[in-house]
């Protein structure tokens, strides 16, 4: 495994109107590891990862200062093409949100929009993405069915496959299991561990056990501040911050 930095935030500040949501964040996220971001509800976890693919641009009252460096380039730089950035930094949302299209068309959508492939080559991409998302076996005979006919866990894996289809470098997952039952959760967790071979995985989670199970690096965010960040073992066994310890031991959160 390489040990290079994929994403680095430098003095990142973010506010919605006058409400400050992220405060002076400095963290560097390593390639080919799973980084978990934990913290109580409303502390800014989603907001943080939504800055990584500039999805916050959709919100007019959002103001950002500081830098987010992806592969040495500030993503807020004027030269950066947002469309290209979002192709490189994929995202899976909290609630499964497949398009009201067929299973096949959901996965083929991204490659088609980018003119990456059509015909046989597109079929190959769809199959590979579904396999990588551990969904192929369950859907290979019903690719033309509506994606909305899948179960919640299958839908979420479909959304992962859809994200993989455009071959991103980074995959952001925003509480991907919060709408799922334990069996589906276990599948997605093992998937995350698989995915780090080829991708940089950043996962937001409410759930300490989940963070402990899947992450190599763990961050603890509290009221928009980075309280703790380091190797997962370190953070869980020996947190440097009293608040982190309280959170981990379940005293609040």
């Amino acid at each position: 495994m390489s040990n290079q930095t994929r994403i680095e935030t430098r003095n990142l500040n973010l506010r919605f109107g006058s409400a400050v949501v992220l405060k002076n964040l400095n963290m560097s996220i390593k390639s080919n590891f799973v980084t978990a971001i934990m913290g109580p509800s409303g502390c800014g976890k989603s907001t943080l990862i939504r800055t990584f693919n500039r999805l916050n641009d959709l919100i007019p009252e959002c103001h950002i200062e500081g830098e987010v460096i992806l592969n040495g380039m500030n993503i807020f730089d004027k030269k950066v093409d947002v469309v290209e950035l979002r192709k490189r930094v994929g995202m899976v949302f909290q609630k499964p949100n497949p398009f009201p299209k067929s299973i096949y068309d959901n996965v083929a959508y991204g490659p088609k929009m980018h003119g990456m492939a059509h015909g046989k080559k597109l079929d190959t991409i769809v199959e590979k993405s579904l396999k990588d998302a551990a969904l192929w076996a369950e859907v290979k005979d019903r690719l033309r069915d509506s994606a909305l006919s899948l179960s919640g866990g299958q839908q979420q894996r479909l959304c992962i496959a859809r994200t993989l289809s455009v071959q991103p470098e980074v995959i952001l997952l925003d509480e991907p299991c919060s709408a799922l039952d334990p069996a589906a959760t276990a599948k997605i967790e093992s998937l995350m561990v698989q995915l780090k071979k080829n991708y940089t995985v950043i996962v937001v989670t409410h759930n300490m056990q989940q963070a402990a199970r899947v992450s190599d690096y763990t961050a603890f965010l509290y009221l928009g501040e980075l309280m703790e960040y380091g190797e997962a073992e370190q953070v869980f066994k020996n947190p440097s911050n009293k608040l982190t310890e309280d959170f981990i031991t379940g005293r609040f959160g």
Partner: protein, 285 residues
């Protein structure tokens, strides 16, 4: 104390009767037209041209009505959809957008005879489109435009934000997102809105009377710039100027056919809507 339960019961019965009454009016109209018009529904009536008020059939009127609504939809459909997309996706929230929306909504309240008059002055005389299929279709388009714009805007707004986010997060552009995801998910709502607009256009008399033709034309137009017959205008003409039982019978026959076309469109609209909902399991406004 007054017995509340008894009161409740009377209120319920009263409401029941008011509801039944409105349905009864509808049934009565349909029944009346059906009974009176049924006798006229012969192949000859449906396939021949009229001759004065008392003779012949309504073939050019049926086809003319379809032509007129066709031209109307070709005009009002795309503009309605694109304007709906603009208003829901691109229009900034400012005073200009508000004024624009106010005008669209006001247009919906303009009496159709006024739109007809405008069509006559602007399309027929000023633009020299003549009393014609083209003028009539366009004027009908003016009339239903507010409805198609509104229906599209609302259907598009009803598409969940999460679809847009998912598409943008894949690196699709805004226009790709609208075209490939939002518009498709909104399609059932848009189509239903268009078909309901079409239903309005089919029965419209005043607009067509002033812009399209005298209703009794016995030929189909050979070009889009020739006058065209239509069922509502035909009906109006022979009902007000026929004065014979042959003429009245023809009016009822034409009314029944008009009602039939209208019902077919409405049934088609709801079937299409159900089909889309089933296929995509999308819900909309």
């Amino acid at each position: 104390m007054v017995n509340e339960q008894v009161k409740e019961k009377y209120v319920k019965i009263f409401l029941y009767f008011t509801a039944s009454f409105s349905i009864l009016v509808l049934i009565a109209i349909m029944f009346f037209i059906a009974i009176k018009g049924m006798g006229m529904l012969t192949v000859e009536f449906l396939t021949t041209a009229p001759y004065r008020f008392e003779y012949g059939g309504i073939y050019p009127q049926i086809i003319g009505t379809l032509y007129l609504t066709g031209v109307c939809m070709v005009f009002a459909g795309p503009i309605g959809i694109l304007a709906g997309i603009y208003l829901s996706e691109y229009a900034p929230v400012n005073i200009i957008t508000k004024i624009l929306r106010f005008f669209v909504e006001s247009l919906a309240g303009v009496p159709s005879i006024v739109i007809g008059l405008f069509g006559l002055a602007f399309l027929v005389y000023y633009m020299h489109f003549q009393i014609s299929l083209f003028s009539g279709g366009l004027a009908l388009g003016f009339m239903i435009l507010p409805w198609t714009v509104r229906a599209s805007e609302e259907a598009i707004r009803a598409v969940p934000f999460s679809y847009r986010e998912a598409s943008l997060a894949l690196g699709a552009s805004k226009w790709q997102t609208i075209k490939e995801v939002v518009a498709k998910a909104a399609a059932p709502g848009i189509v239903t809105g268009l078909l309901l607009g079409l239903g309005k256009a089919i029965g419209e008399t005043a607009v067509v009377l002033l812009t399209a033709g005298s209703g009794l034309e016995s030929f189909l137009p050979r070009s889009i710039f020739e006058p065209v017959a239509s069922l509502p205008v035909y009906l109006y003409m022979i009902a007000t100027q026929g004065h014979t039982s042959e003429a009245y019978n023809r009016a009822y026959g034409a009314a029944l056919v008009l009602l039939g076309i209208f019902l077919v469109i409405n049934v088609f609209a709801s079937l299409l809507r159900n089909y889309y909902i089933k296929k995509h399991r999308v819900r909309f406004g």
